[in-house]
Assembly symmetry: C2
Homo-oligomer: 439 residues x 2
């Protein structure tokens, strides 16, 4: 993408309405614009990050055997009256009347609807287990929306729902999703910690929230060093497979026996018993939440399927959420410096930015164009007629992992400067060496 023709409106000034780092940087980098209180439009740079995160979330859901569906945003109120949650949800639910005066709502979550789809179609234990997920916009009418996409009213969520014939199956599904989540966050470049949590309005008796570490995070967290050392992606010995019940048990044990708590749930007595060198404290942000709630919805909504002995059974359910749009902000809270964002390679909007320090200089222009063509769409080309200082500042602000700096002297000598955003390290290379380094 050529920056001169791109809809990437960067800002020099920090907008007054933005109270937290990620909100400020997302506005300044031209990633999003607010269209109503707590509602955002995603501009090209922001959308690329959102879609990269969505892709990693999807890949790990698929790898865990979950099937993707897509439920609509607008739901009928009847389903929520059936489960008994229509009144519970209060003013956070955006309630709507259609032209025929029917009660509708903008879905804040989908337990009722997925249970309804399930009961229409699944008749026998033979069709289980199933995990269904979708990645769809949700709405929660927060009374004071703020913190940008971290707490928006319209937000993108991945929510999954598991259906099992018994408790043992449901526990297996819960562990599978927990592993999928840890893999997802690791691939996004985040350190995540599952923490036991209250079940709230979803209900049920087992629940974990996933906190990622970020220096500017919203809560204080206390945890054992184990969580910093784990590798959820390694496949060999010591790794974890979704397919192996033993692996899942070992994984779940590792996640639930080591100390981890937010300040709300912090237990000073237990904390005191941990070896000092294993103690870690930091700030964290909640980015996911999983629930096992058994037959809560299958009972209230009258869902029964044939069990192995032919008798009708209420299937056991769990639900599993990741805040996809929230993660964009959370990654920035976890990875930035004074100059701007530092994208992890896996979700960066572009691999690299090419900085043409002297537009109109024949050697600079030719070298930049040649490089840009070789990147085949994976690089942003700063071809604006602007001062070098503006380009350096915008490149740091936007946070591309690599900067390829092309100046007139270097271009004449067939050299570029390659800067790694995360470390600030700079080296002079030939263009081909730079491309090889970026990979």
């Amino acid at each position: 993408m050529r920056l001169s023709r791109s809809f990437i409106p960067t800002m020099k000034e920090t907008p007054a309405e933005a109270q937290i780092t990620s909100h400020r940087l997302m506005l300044r980098a031209g990633m999003v614009r607010q269209t109503s209180a707590g509602i955002y439009a995603w501009l090209p740079l922001g959308l690329r990050v959102l879609k990269n995160i969505e892709r990693l979330v999807r890949e790990e859901q698929d790898a865990a055997g979950a099937q993707e569906v897509l439920m609509p945003t607008i739901q009928p109120a009847e389903l929520w009256k059936e489960s008994g949650r229509y009144e519970d949800y209060g003013k956070e639910m955006l309630r709507i009347k259609d032209r025929h005066d029917r009660d509708m709502l903008y879905g804040p979550t989908n337990e009722e609807m997925i249970t309804d789809l399930f009961r229409q179609s699944v008749k026998s234990y033979r069709e289980l287990p199933q995990i269904l997920y979708h990645i769809q916009w949700k709405f929660r009418d927060e009374v004071r929306p703020r913190f940008g996409v971290m707490r928006g009213r319209e937000f993108l969520m991945k929510d999954a729902y598991s259906f099992d014939i018994d408790h043992a199956g449901a526990v297996q599904s819960y562990r599978k999703m927990m592993l999928a989540y840890m893999r997802t966050f690791q691939r996004i470049g985040l350190k995540a910690i599952p923490m036991e949590a209250d079940t709230g309005p979803i209900g049920g008796d087992l629940s974990h929230e996933f906190i990622i570490l970020a220096p500017t995070g919203e809560s204080q967290v206390y945890y054992d060093a184990t969580f910093e050392e784990m590798d959820y992606l390694s496949a060999g010995a010591g790794g974890f497979s979704h397919e192996s019940a033993e692996d899942l048990e070992r994984f779940f044990k590792a996640m639930t026996t080591q100390y981890a708590a937010t300040d709300e749930k912090h237990d000073a007595t237990k904390w005191a018993m941990i070896d000092a060198p294993r103690k870690r404290e930091g700030r964290g942000i909640e980015v996911g939440h999983i629930f096992y709630f058994g037959t809560k919805y299958t009972k209230s909504m009258g869902v029964r399927i044939a069990g192995a002995d032919g008798k009708p059974v209420h299937p056991e359910m769990g639900s599993y959420g990741i805040g996809v749009s929230r993660l964009v902000g959370a990654v920035i809270e976890a990875s930035h410096d004074e100059a701007g964002i530092i994208w992890p390679d896996s979700i960066a909007p572009f691999k690299a930015v090419i900085l043409n320090l002297k537009r109109g200089d024949a050697a600079c222009d030719a070298l930049c164009e040649a490089l840009y063509a070789k990147f085949a769409g994976t690089a942003l080309y700063d071809d604006r007629e602007d001062r070098a200082g503006v380009k350096f500042a915008d490149a740091d602000l936007m946070g591309h992992p690599w900067q390829v700096v092309v100046g007139p002297r270097g271009a004449a000598a067939g050299r570029v400067e390659l800067k790694r955003r995360a470390t600030g390290e700079r080296v002079e290379l030939t263009p081909d060496e730079a491309l090889a380094r970026i990979g």
Copy 2:
């Protein structure tokens, strides 16, 4: 995907509520389920098709130089009061009050919002031309929603908006989008014809709708044979490039000088002047609509940018829509037979289905598993414990382009039967030959 564990609830009976072919087949093949009047959940099989179409639409928008953004579904009423369309839209607009009693709405289209985003950021003619698009759910509160996803209330639309400094630029953008549309429809496997249209509530003075040919289409169409003969994808001599103004002019001329009209606009006098062998009649379905409306919104919403001479100018706009979810139904109307759907290869949910005619037979199971592994996710495996007749019927109903039929005698001899859904042609081959044929 293994069918025994998939959420693909096929139905033998035709649901009573479905009046048209695509609606019947989408319900029977387990692609969608209605969740409220005119609102659908997309189940795994349907979602795969929807996403394939979305991908082709996106690729052609990107190839034409359009930039992807993502605007929210919920919009503030103020923007529509500013343009003067808030009252015009009537009861089709889903109007909402949030918890602070502010007037909001579920966007039926996005001219106002994109114009607002543009005016916040773009200041100079140097940043033009720009074409911005998004693929997002829309809502139109139809009084009697019917015909399944062909006329749903919540529907997925690709809408693009062009901004140019003058009329000549706007015409160029209009032609680019028209070419992108014809390429998109050809890649989806459809015969499309652009027809001059009324501008309706969008306004403006140039508009075309895109009709695709389908035997069960909603309107009668009359057109010159030229449209059946054109190839929009060929790149060589006679082909059309987005980048060449001459190509775009030649393309636009070809599209607008040959006769094409729906029965509403049919002109018997003009029709009589066409050579009989060039006359074509058929049924068609509208799947896209493009508009040039100049400064309608930039004037009403007070958008000015600096022109080349430094004087402020109202940019010229166009808007360009494709009904993405509607296209799923439209393709089925265009491509089906008595037994079910016939997917074009480019958008099929799976390349192939593997039919295991005798589950439990060691040779059948082993051969099917080996084939399934080789397809690496691109095939559906019908591993259900069901009669062969059920599997044949479901395979034809779901419409996968290829069927790989594995029976016990063939498996013992290392042979499979390969059936092409579109032609019914069957051949006996080794598994490797079958894989090579499918490609």
